[in-house]
Subunit: 345 residues, 2 copies
């Protein structure tokens, strides 16, 4: 077989080629594709045979150029490496499938530049809608996309205004649940581990923690803040070092981490330093990713309804794209505490 023979005989057969092969007009081929009931059975069969023989593949570009809209939904993820976001993506697949749309995932990797590039490309593709967990939910870039006409829903972040749909989880409540649980377990010296607090999520979770603490009328100074630079396993390990280094009389007996990655890092470092979990240090994470339950000491964590988050966001973006009466909504879900060994002993 010569190398040339490897290439397809015809670059790609078009509707016109199929029409010629089947001896009908091009309009008829289109009818077979779109309203098969209006085509006589014999003709239809002949056309279908021609399609198979030629290896006809519908050209989606031409299709959506003509129709003005594509059959695609996209989710721009903040971090493809964090299982939380892939779970959200999974939740969006249902509504996408129902609407016969493909769901494409893009990874912004926490970089505004990449995010902007993806958004631009998606707008150019005229996707039906965009779901996005943005680097900055208040960025005007997002407003611009909406103004130019592409439906867009913010996922897992909230906007301070109501010009864009968003779907999020009540992080203040989540923080409260975590700390109330620790208080119930008898802890009176607790650390909040996380940062930077410029991230809305982190600030909210801390706020919730503080409110729970205040409500229990515990001394303000006994809820300490162990700051991290990022929400990663490495940052958790590093925080663990600092905590383990404290004199046991000053050391908190429990840590509430801003997410599970930090909690896992903290758990690892605590174990390494010889601190028993939960006896000497109880740990609560956030997100309840699969690996939280899979840790050697299963992690107590605040679960977000991430599947529901993705599903609702997809439904919202579909409504925005198809319903002229659409009104932007900001939805909030409630998190739930899942207690496991890392706080129960």
């Amino acid at each position: 077989m010569s190398p040339a023979a490897r290439r397809p005989a015809s670059p790609t057969a078009s509707v016109k080629d199929v029409a010629a092969a089947a001896g009908v007009s091009l309009g008829t081929v289109s009818n077979v594709l779109n309203r098969p009931d209006r085509v006589a059975a014999g003709t239809r069969e002949r056309v279908e045979r021609a399609m198979n023989e030629l290896g006809f593949v519908r050209n989606e570009s031409a299709r959506s150029l003509r129709s003005g809209r594509s059959r695609t939904l996209a989710y721009v993820m903040l971090d493809a490496g964090n299982p939380f976001f892939t779970d959200v993506a999974r939740g969006s697949e249902g509504p996408a499938d129902d609407g016969d749309l493909s769901l494409f995932l893009c990874n912004s990797d926490n970089r505004a530049g990449r995010e902007a590039a993806h958004l631009e490309h998606l707008e150019q593709q005229r996707v039906q809608g965009i779901l996005i967990t943005p680097v900055d939910p208040d960025s005007p870039t997002l407003d611009a996309v909406v103004e130019r006409g592409t439906p867009l829903v913010i996922v897992d972040r909230t906007r301070t205004d109501d010009r864009i749909c968003s779907v999020a989880v009540d992080d203040v409540l989540g923080g409260r649940l975590a700390v109330e649980h620790l208080i119930d377990q008898g802890h009176t010296r607790v650390a909040f581990v996380g940062g930077p607090t410029s991230i809305g999520q982190v600030a909210d979770r801390l706020e919730g923690a503080r409110r729970a603490w205040a409500d229990a009328e515990l001394p303000e100074d006994d809820l300490t803040l162990v700051h991290t630079d990022s929400l990663t396993v490495a940052a958790g390990r590093e925080a663990g070092e600092r905590i383990a280094g404290l004199a046991s009389t000053r050391r908190p007996t429990a840590a509430f981490c801003a997410n599970d990655l930090i909690a896992l890092g903290l758990l690892q470092q605590a174990t390494r330093a010889g601190l028993a979990v939960p006896d000497q240090l109880a740990i609560v994470g956030y997100d309840d990713i699969e690996f939280a339950a899979a840790a050697a000491v299963p992690l107590t964590s605040v679960r977000q309804p991430r599947h529901e988050l993705g599903r609702t966001a997809a439904l919202l973006v579909l409504d925005e794209s198809s319903n002229p009466q659409h009104v932007h909504q900001q939805l909030t879900f409630e998190p739930e505490l899942v207690a496991r060994t890392s706080t129960l002993g």
Copy 2:
């Protein structure tokens, strides 16, 4: 503001609209877009102003209809929840960016049906190339895609023939490395934990393990097979139960797991059952995902060059799409053992 006012004034401005607004012909607008150097500075400026005022967004459908190719690469992942695959995807981003292409991720979720649906949609979109970790690398569906003209590279799976490009890692060698390491550590009763062996990867890793065992002239029966139904954390836990239940005289002193998810499940269950890792049970995983290093007892694991895997696959698919002389290649990389506490004590 009336609800109607929320909708964009003009659905979307086209090149023609821009031309009219700037008082030039439509060809000139196109020149501004594609060969700005051939347009007089004043004209260019006027056109660019018009574009901004109208919120002009290039229509990618029309563009790729005209040019016959799109600016998109896609990676169809087997399981978006497994960090291994998202890491591979990250590796592909470099070449994609260099070629000024967007990389879209699709999740087949291990289901042939979803995979086929994604492939069909991608063909219709006339993507430049497809990277795929397929449910079944020998499925004729893949050949059909290639024959119809879309460049396609199989990632992390090998084909038995050479009609398609593939990029994989030598799993037999990986299995050998893992077991040689355990033998070096003095283990003489080892379990291979994984399954189903119908998956090529699993069979290869087991084969490598057996060869290392044979080369060391250890009794065949002392390398046991603990079968699992899938490569998940849950399956690992379940296998852990079975191993922990064995009498200590018959129990293997080390386990080589077919992937890290199983290893993490096994580690968790062993800990729960009071088996000390690595003293009573050493554990080796496979893939070296981030969570392997982050476990309470950091896992020894066989690292695959997953970033390199993704990068090479992307380069290969780009070559196939742009180089008429392209010859299909099946590349194999070498894995590497990363020794950590779970085998070193």
